[in-house]
């Protein structure tokens, strides 16, 4: 396999994977905080 192709695929899927992991981590930590503050995470905000 060509090194350029390998690099392109690795960077693309590595970055998307990292971004996905970050969103999931963020989702987990924000949900935990909402739970501690007793905020209903499923209701719509009316601001």
């Amino acid at each position: 396999m060509n090194a350029y192709v390998e690099a392109a695929y690795l960077i693309t899927f590595g970055s998307i994977g990292s971004y996905t992991a970050w969103i999931l981590y963020k989702s987990h930590s924000v949900s935990k905080l909402a739970q501690e503050l007793k905020i209903d995470s499923n209701s719509e905000s009316k601001s």
């Binding site: 350029y4 392109a8 970055s15 924000v30 905000s45």
Partner: protein, 272 residues
């Protein structure tokens, strides 16, 4: 209380994984090398789909921003959707630039050149980074949303410029291949199928990322509003406390001043 993840989002995530797997297997193992580009052609299965998703994301941001600015349809959801989509768009634009640069090095002999398409894409990346920075500015949430929505609409002007730059100006980048029958270099068979699967895979990834990020943004906003509410309550409580103290102070001062006018005997009475 975890945000409810809709079954549709779960299905999208599952399908995205299948299509990504198919793109990887077909793109890296099954499709043949190109007669001219050799193995380098394999980047085509990820580079145009990344650019497509970036456009899709910015299109969604522009529509959502327009809906937020229009008084009849104004709702928090449009601002939140706009922010979520722009963030995913920035990630995909960055990857479009990186994969394009990797493809450009062996093809054009340079990692980067100030070609109209490349420059307009780099500008697009910077514009939406600015948009995301604008969203983080402190201040009134509705004021911030309005400013961001206007910025998103201004930034979107660059999207058609990027798309049309290869036709408007002389560019190193090739002209549209798939939907351009006039183009001599065309894509057929398994190579065309893999490219289509790549487009579907990245679109599904975008949808999953968008809705998951949207859920996080909604919750973050609720926490922000809750924090503001608590701060306001505390402030009101302090203000009330201050008011009570001030009124008590002024009352006693008034009594004292009244009593001091009346003489030492009455002061003793008030103090009692």
């Amino acid at each position: 209380m975890k945000p409810k993840k809709s079954p549709v989002i779960r299905v999208i995530g599952f399908l995205a994984l299948i299509f990504i797997g198919a793109t990887l297997v077909l793109g890296l193992k099954i499709t043949p090398p190109d007669a001219i580009q050799g193995q380098m052609v394999r980047i085509i299965y990820i580079h145009p789909p990344l650019a497509w998703v970036a456009f899709l994301a910015y299109g969604t941001t522009a529509i959502a921003s327009g809906l937020y600015l229009w008084k009849r349809t104004r709702a928090r959801i449009w601002d939140q959707l706009s922010g979520a989509s722009a963030e995913v768009g920035v990630v995909f634009t960055g990857l479009t630039l990186v994969t394009g640069s990797i493809w450009g090095r062996p093809t054009w002999g340079v990692w980067w050149t100030w070609d109209p398409l490349l420059t307009a894409t780099a500008l697009l990346f910077v514009l939406y980074l600015g948009y995301l920075a604008l969203r983080k500015l402190p201040g009134d949430i509705n004021q911030r949303s309005k400013r961001s929505a206007i910025a998103a609409l201004i930034a979107f002007i660059d999207v058609p410029i990027v798309q049309m730059s290869v036709l408007w100006w002389h560019s190193l980048h090739q002209k549209p291949t798939v939907f351009n029958p006039g183009q001599p270099a065309q894509i057929h068979g398994i190579m065309a199928d893999t490219l289509l699967i790549g487009f579907i895979a990245f679109t599904l990834v975008w949808l999953w990322l968008l809705f998951t990020r949207l859920g996080v943004i909604k919750l973050e906003e609720k926490i922000e509003l809750y924090g503001l509410e608590v701060a306001l309550r505390e402030r009101r409580g302090e203000v009330n406390k201050d008011l009570v103290e001030t009124s008590q102070d002024s009352h006693s001062k008034t009594s004292l001043s009244t009593s001091s006018k009346q003489g030492p005997d009455s002061q003793v009475l008030v103090q009692k």
